[in-house]
């Protein structure tokens, strides 16, 4: 194949035209597109950085609040523990005093019951003994015994 000067010039002209056409039709839009893309990506990166910073700040705030909350909880627990211990002591003291009172009352009741029982027993024994004595006296009493009783009666009356 023989490439003469006109052909070369033609091809060079073609190339120039293609080059210019490509530059205006492809290169610049592509560059624009790529620039836009680059800008968009940069914006996205900026946004992401901003979000990350915000998240970091929020995280720090959260951490600070958590620490504060934990400190407050610990203080409340410590206070509650103290109160509970004091309450427990109070309760134990009250329960001990109540138990002592109940014991005293129970002992008093037992003593009263014992005395009641003793009295009842004495009454019963007395009733039984006197019933027997009554029967025996009724059976054995004679006229002279009656007379002696009347004499004793006179002595008492005067």
């Amino acid at each position: 194949m023989y490439f003469g000067l006109p052909t070369i010039v033609f091809y060079l002209l073609n190339l120039a035209v293609v080059f210019v056409a490509l530059r205006f039709l492809v290169y610049k839009p592509v560059i624009r597109f790529l620039k836009k893309r680059e800008d968009s990506v940069a914006q996205m990166l900026d946004d992401a950085r901003e979000e990350r910073d915000k998240a970091q700040a929020a995280h720090e705030v959260y951490e600070a609040r958590m620490e504060q909350t934990q400190k407050e909880s610990a203080a409340i627990l410590a206070e509650a523990g103290k109160s509970a211990a004091m309450r427990a002591e109070d309760i134990i003291a009250k329960a001990t005093a109540e138990a002592a009172e109940i014991k005293k009352r129970a002992e008093r009741d037992i003593e009263n019951e014992k005395q009641h029982a003793r009295r009842d027993l004495r009454s019963e024994l007395a009733d039984t003994a006197l019933a027997i004595a009554q029967k025996v006296i009724k059976r054995e009493i004679r006229a002279e015994d009656n007379r002696r009783l009347i004499e004793d009666f006179f002595k008492e009356v005067g």
Partner: protein, 88 residues
């Protein structure tokens, strides 16, 4: 044993006629009734007309009532007194 209101003998020189009751477990002889009458008439300085009542529940002795005053000399009364002493 004397039971009842305070013994209040009447004013001297003033003779009253009183009613009385003798409760006995078994019939008393006349001497015993006379004895009782005389003693109480002297005590009250009055004439006392006693009625006699038989009540075997008093077991023995007598209960004399004059003017609301009760003089309990019965066995039952003594046993009751003993019971009170035991159970005190």
């Amino acid at each position: 044993m004397i039971v009842g209101a305070d013994c209040h003998p009447p004013l001297p020189g003033y003779h009253m006629f009183l009613k009385g009751k003798i409760v006995t477990a078994s019939m008393l002889d006349d001497d015993a009734i006379t004895d009782i009458t005389e003693r109480f008439e002297k005590r009250y300085d009055a004439n006392i007309d006693f009625t006699v009542e038989i009540n075997s529940s008093i077991i023995g002795g007598v209960i004399v009532t004059v003017q609301g005053d009760v003089y309990d000399g019965s066995v039952r009364g003594r046993l009751k007194s003993m019971r009170e002493q035991i159970t005190k």
